[in-house]
Amino acid sequence: MKSNEEELLSVPVDRRLAGQTALVTGSSSGIGEAIARVLAASGARVIVHGRDAERTQAVVATIERAGGNASALVADLGTSASDVRRFAAEAAALAGGQLDILVNNAGIYPATATSDLGEDDLDAVLGVNIRAPHVLVAALAPAMAERGRGSIVNIGSWMARVGLPFGAMYTASKAALEQMTRTWAAEYGPRGVHVNTVAPGATTTPGNAESEDVIAAMTAVTVAGRPVRPVDVAYAVRFAVSDEASFLHGSIIDVDGGIAHTRLG
């Protein structure tokens, strides 16, 4: 099997998202980067968001080198609701007034024991993983509904539906996001906005590189037998925002190597 980067470098170019503009939060590395690159390979113009200007610019440059169209937007989504609202307005301006696709991917994932979670991390999980997607959907979904067309994908987690002996706040935040997906599917879906969750299994990214051994052990006993690659998640996101997903509303697509639903032996 190709590595994540090899696969991303060989994604066939097509036009299925041509003419659409996508905002992918947290796309300066990892899963978000893969989503940005795959959507761009299918012709979407992508707004790459990150906290670090250089990393964000680097993803834009990678997309442009591959013949895609991308712009960078630097922001911290964890500060306040009003800052996220301003971010949404600036993203809409960067999109020329029309955003067709929103991928709520930015997240932080402190997987500590409950009593070890610091107050700053606790607030940050609530702010980035729950408040920011809520404010972004509140700001951007109404315009999509008015146009009668739009797609929102929230990045969930297999860990939202199983008890593990750590990461209570992180996994709860992902459960919250999965529930907001269902609410928004009912709220905006009748007006043409598709809202769905793509839930990755244990995935190797730069953000969890130090837990590589834990992830390898965790995924060795799955059907796939190996960690999910960010690009695999990106393919599912691309499906969920494509015309082929016109009957997908409030669903969870598990891209997890079987970790959530199977046992081997």
Binding site: E54, L73, V74, A75, R86, E90, A93, L94
Partner: protein
């Protein structure tokens, strides 16, 4: 992407930027060059050999500055001409009196933090001076810039652009309560949008423009600030000398590759990052100042306003 080999940055001075640049046979206009970074912008262009016109409101100060620049650069082709950017007739007189090609127009003059004031035409002063006066000047000098066969315009903006977009439904605070921060921010957003749209509309005339954020520089611009606030700002934000503050203007005027699709906002002698909120008090440009549809509309509105100034 930032070119790491690029030798210029936040600490570069205008004279360092023009080192090795030859502007003999080039003409330049710098507005607001009687004080602050305008002086050092004009000095650097003169040092590189350009024939520089100081476009100023205070002729006595302008003449003193011109003498100083002639003495420090050995370039005698430095002259002074009157302009009051708040008065469109004065701007038209300046442009009408211009003869020959114009290679560099630096829209440097600016006002900030004014109490509510209006021009004789009834227009809010920040918008009138910072944007509309320069819009009229560039329109008036457009034939001279076209005649240069390769001309650049530099629009001095500021991180203050973050505070407001263009308030098309209440440009002059006729409806909403006056807010000096919003008024300044709107005018600084207009400076970026004007550069963007001039580049698009005047592409076939060989004219290209960009906006610059000079940095935090303490000049006459902040003369109305509360001293306590000023002291606090100086503590909290990175500040530059006037020589460093002029560097980005001069960089864009002499070294940057401008054009349609090229960066439209520079800071510290390189293109700024596009951000949703200003970073570290001074860095980055917000998308609302780069929106092509808004830039087009601002141009149309500005033309309409100028027609009504006759």
């Amino acid at each position: 992407m930032l070119d790491r080999r690029e030798p210029f940055g936040a600490e570069s001075t205008a004279l360092e930027v023009v080192d090795g640049i030859d502007l003999h046979d080039r003409t330049a206009v710098v507005t607001g060059s009687g004080s602050g970074i305008g002086v050092e912008t004009a000095r650097a262009l003169a040092a590189a050999g350009a024939a520089v016109t100081l476009a100023v409101r205070d002729m006595a100060t302008g003449n003193r500055v011109a003498a100083d620049i002639r003495a420090s650069t050995g370039n005698d082709a430095v002259r002074v001409a009157f302009i009051d950017l708040a008065d469109i007739r004065s701007v038209r007189s300046f442009a009408d009196a211009w003869s020959g090609p114009l290679h560099l127009l630096v829209n440097n003059a600016g006002v900030m933090d004014l109490p509510e004031q209006r021009t004789p035409d009834g227009r809010e002063m920040h918008f009138a001076v910072n944007h509309l006066g320069h819009f009229a000047l560039a329109q008036g000098l457009h034939p001279a810039m076209r005649a240069a066969g390769g001309s650049k315009m530099v629009s001095l903006s500021s991180s203050g652009h973050a505070s407001s977009g263009i308030r098309f439904d209440d440009l002059f605070f006729d409806r909403d309560p006056y807010d000096t921060g919003l008024a300044y921010g709107q005018s600084k957003t207009a400076n970026v949008l004007f550069a963007l749209e001039a580049t698009r509309r005047w592409k076939d005339d060989g004219i290209a423009a960009s906006a610059v954020m000079p940095g935090g520089i303490w000049t006459n611009l902040q003369r109305r600030w509360d001293p306590a606030l000023l002291a606090d700002m100086k503590r909290r934000y990175p500040t530059k000398t006037v020589e460093q503050g002029a560097a980005t203007s001069v960089y864009v005027a002499t070294r940057a590759e401008l054009g349609v699709g090229a960066p439209a906002y520079y800071e510290d002698c390189h293109p700024a990052n596009v951000v949703a909120a200003i970073q570290g008090g001074v860095h980055g440009v917000l998308p609302h100042a780069l929106d092509p549809a808004v830039a087009d509309r601002l141009w149309e509105v500005s033309e309409w306003l100028l027609e009504r100034s006759r």
